[in-house]
């Protein structure tokens, strides 16, 4: 029997959502400061208005829904998807006021794309966007990559159980340290160290490329946030091609990979356990899939006869493959060209790489290497059971920080989440095809949205029907949260209507 949620449940969920909304409002003050420093007066007002509305909404929600009751597991898991929708709604206000979006819905699309580290965009005339607005686009990626709710909660007070539920909802449940709050702080510290060091390196690279130092100061942190948080937005409309530089590609490549590696692996490395990277089942799966994907891409590109030599093959083929696999979405080729130039085999490989994705506990999207490894090992286990005598006990293990047995629960979870991703890709592709686009363009775009990649196909997103844009928004949102909390929200809505 379904139980109708009580008033107190709504109040708890709204109270925490209100706090998170307020946090989003406070974060808008950073791009406002950048606009202020750049003497961009109209954008200053855009952020002031956006921040004020968001803070007022957040405060009023938390004041009116204040309750002394503790947040339980169910509340935590529901706060996450609602908070992400609220972040999309309020985060879009300064975007829309900036005048670079045709509709408020288009601004919401970009905000969701940023927070989910996807990188698909509906912005118009990006090359004339203010510094403040451009920084806000990239900051949404940084916040979303770390996990909106986790970022906020490490800055606020919260009970341990509630934080665990929130981290599950946001697909960041792996405990690197015994305490999840410490885990979140560790992730934040790693990211901040990367931010400072890598932004410095990228600034130097930009200056070497002929960009004046002050402008380089604008490019470097934005490119860092988009690469490390596998977001794929860039300050200019041409993606990474804009820089025409192997040096820029050389430095952004390891950043994309760094963002796509499980944070638990970082902790193992920092703790002196350097052998973990060679033993970790997920990193081995990642290496093998990247090797396989690039080998097939190389064959496809050689067949197409476009990038035959080693340097073009690496700069256009390998870079593009890593960008897709890590779910970053930077492009070193004209993305419209991919279907024409790469041939069917190249496109198929790229779609599979996008759909699979990199590590769990990273900023990457897609099914993830860990789940692929679990599914493959489950097949191995079943084959062993068939081959060995019935009395034999088969135990399959995998290495992740330590030897772990392959449990039924783990296999079921990997299959269910994997199936949910595939269902999302298919639904998005069908919707694209229903709107009149070719099936392979629709599938490419759907996987790009559902796995939070951001590479565009030949579908002109700016002119696409709103229903298709809404489908992609749903795919980005559900894909980033790995479906669990989104399904929980749908269940909650059903019980609110039909429960007793």
């Amino acid at each position: 029997m379904l139980f109708r949620p009580r008033l107190v449940d709504y109040k708890i969920i709204s109270f925490y959502t209100g706090k998170l909304i307020m946090g989003i409002g406070l974060l808008m003050l950073i791009p406002m400061a950048i606009s202020l420093a750049s003497q961009e007066w109209s954008p200053v007002l855009d952020f002031l208005i956006g921040a004020s509305i968001t803070i007022i909404a957040g405060l009023l929600t938390s004041i009116f829904c204040r309750t002394g009751k503790e947040m339980r597991w169910m509340h935590g898991i529901l706060v996450v998807p609602i908070a992400w929708l609220a972040a999309m709604l309020f985060g879009a206000i300064p975007h829309y006021l900036g005048g670079h979006f045709a509709t408020f819905f288009d601004a919401m699309f970009d905000t969701m794309s940023g927070f989910t580290t996807t990188g698909l965009t509906l912005i118009r005339d990006l090359d004339h966007l203010s510094y403040g607005h451009n920084f806000w686009r990239h900051l949404t990626i940084f916040i979303g990559g770390q996990g909106i709710v986790i970022v906020m909660l490490t800055l606020m007070a919260g009970g341990a159980s509630s934080i665990y539920a929130l981290s599950v909802g946001e697909a960041r449940e792996e405990k690197i340290l015994p305490n999840l709050m410490h885990t979140a702080r560790f992730i934040r510290h790693v990211s901040l160290v990367y931010f400072v060091v890598a932004s410095g390196v990228l600034w130097r690279v930009c200056v070497q490329l002929g960009i004046i130092p002050l402008r380089a100061l604008f490019h470097a942190p934005n490119i860092f946030m988009a690469a490390f948080d596998t977001g794929g937005f860039t300050p200019q409309s041409q993606s990474i091609v804009y820089y025409h530089s192997p040096l820029m590609e050389f430095w952004t490549l390891p950043l994309m990979l760094a963002g796509a590696i499980n944070f638990a692996l970082y902790y193992a490395l920092f703790s002196g356990n350097k052998r973990e990277i060679f033993k970790n089942g997920e990193s081995i799966t990642m290496t093998l899939t990247i090797f396989a994907a690039f080998s097939i891409t190389a064959i496809a590109l050689a067949q197409a006869g476009v990038f035959n030599e080693v340097a073009p093959m690496f700069r256009r083929g390998f870079y593009q493959m890593i960008s897709a696999y890590t779910s970053t979405g930077f492009t070193t080729v004209q993305s419209h060209h991919i279907p024409d130039i790469w041939g069917p085999l190249g496109v198929l490989t790229l779609v599979v790489a996008m759909g699979l994705g990199a590590s769990i506990g990273s900023t990457a999207g897609g099914i993830k290497a860990h789940r692929l490894m679990v599914i493959v090992k489950a097949f191995v286990q079943e084959i062993k059971k068939m081959v060995l005598p019935p009395s034999a006990i088969t135990v399959v293990k995998y290495h992740h920080l330590k030897k772990n047995p392959l449990t039924e629960k783990l296999v079921l979870n990997a299959f269910l989440v994997g199936m949910a991703y595939i269902a999302s890709y298919i639904i998005g592709a069908l919707m694209g095809a229903l709107m009149g686009y070719s099936l392979h363009d629709a599938l490419f775009q759907s996987v790009s949205a559902g796995a939070n990649i951001g590479i565009s196909s030949r579908i002109p997103l700016l002119d696409a029907p709103d229903i298709l844009k809404a489908t992609y928004v749903f795919q980005m949102w559900a894909g980033r949260l790995e479906f669990v909390s989104v399904l929980a929200l749908l269940g909650f809505l059903v019980s609110a209507v039909r429960g007793k």
């Binding site: 409002g25 750049s38 961009e40 007066w41 109209s42 007002l45 855009d46 002031l48 208005i49 921040a51 004020s52 509305i53 803070i55 007022i56 405060l59 009023l60 938390s62 004041i63 204040r66 309750t67 002394g68 006021l97 090359d127 004339h128 966007l129 203010s130 510094y131 490329l209 002929g210 960009i211 004046i212 402008r215 200019q236 409309s237 041409q238 091609v241 804009y242 820089y243 025409h244 192997p246 476009v306 990038f307 030599e309 340097a311 073009p312 700069r315 256009r316 080729v333 004209q334 419209h336 060209h337 024409d340 130039i341």
Partner: protein, 165 residues
């Protein structure tokens, strides 16, 4: 004799192939028919955007024609002709280039680019005047104090520990 010479000259003028003026191509045309244009000399016009990146004797500028931007490889001397590149505060110089288009440039590891043979600024850039809308000022003047008062109220309430229901 004079008539024969004139007639011969007339015939030669008819028979000698004249070089037709290059028709300007759009970025969309280049992207959609890149194989057909690969290796040919094209004329492309667009606004210089972002940064003019001079690297030694040559460098890059990106020209946006309203639909897409394309990278132009040109000599440093020609690139220095570009005074304004488009950004939030400026409309960039309108630049006309004539050069060889590459679908996958052999010199630049497969870049989609144009190697400029000639580059000229056809219209200088200009400053964009951004007016602050009065409506935004009024909205900010109302919303900011409300947000600040509410924020301070909530902070005070938390500090003095007024509990919830």
């Amino acid at each position: 004799m004079r008539k024969t010479t004139l007639f011969m000259l007339f015939l030669i003028a008819l028979l000698v192939p004249t070089t037709p003026a290059l028709a300007a191509v759009s970025s969309t045309e280049l992207i959609e028919n890149s194989k057909a244009y690969d290796g040919t000399t094209v004329e492309f016009q667009g606004e210089a955007i972002g940064d003019v990146m001079v690297r030694g004797e040559s460098g890059w500028v990106n020209l946006h024609d309203g639909s897409n931007a394309i990278g132009i490889w040109a000599s440093a001397a020609e690139l220095r002709e570009i005074r304004t590149a488009g950004d939030y505060n400026s409309i960039g110089d309108r630049v006309l280039v004539e050069g060889v288009f590459h679908l996958a440039c052999p010199t630049h590891d497969g870049e989609f680019d144009i190697h400029a043979e000639t580059l000229a600024v056809v219209k200088p850039g200009s400053r964009i005047t951004h007016t602050v809308e009065p409506g935004k000022m009024i909205a900010a003047a109302i919303l900011v104090p409300v947000a600040v008062v509410l924020f301070l109220f909530e902070r005070r309430r938390r500090r003095y520990g007024v509990g919830g229901s």
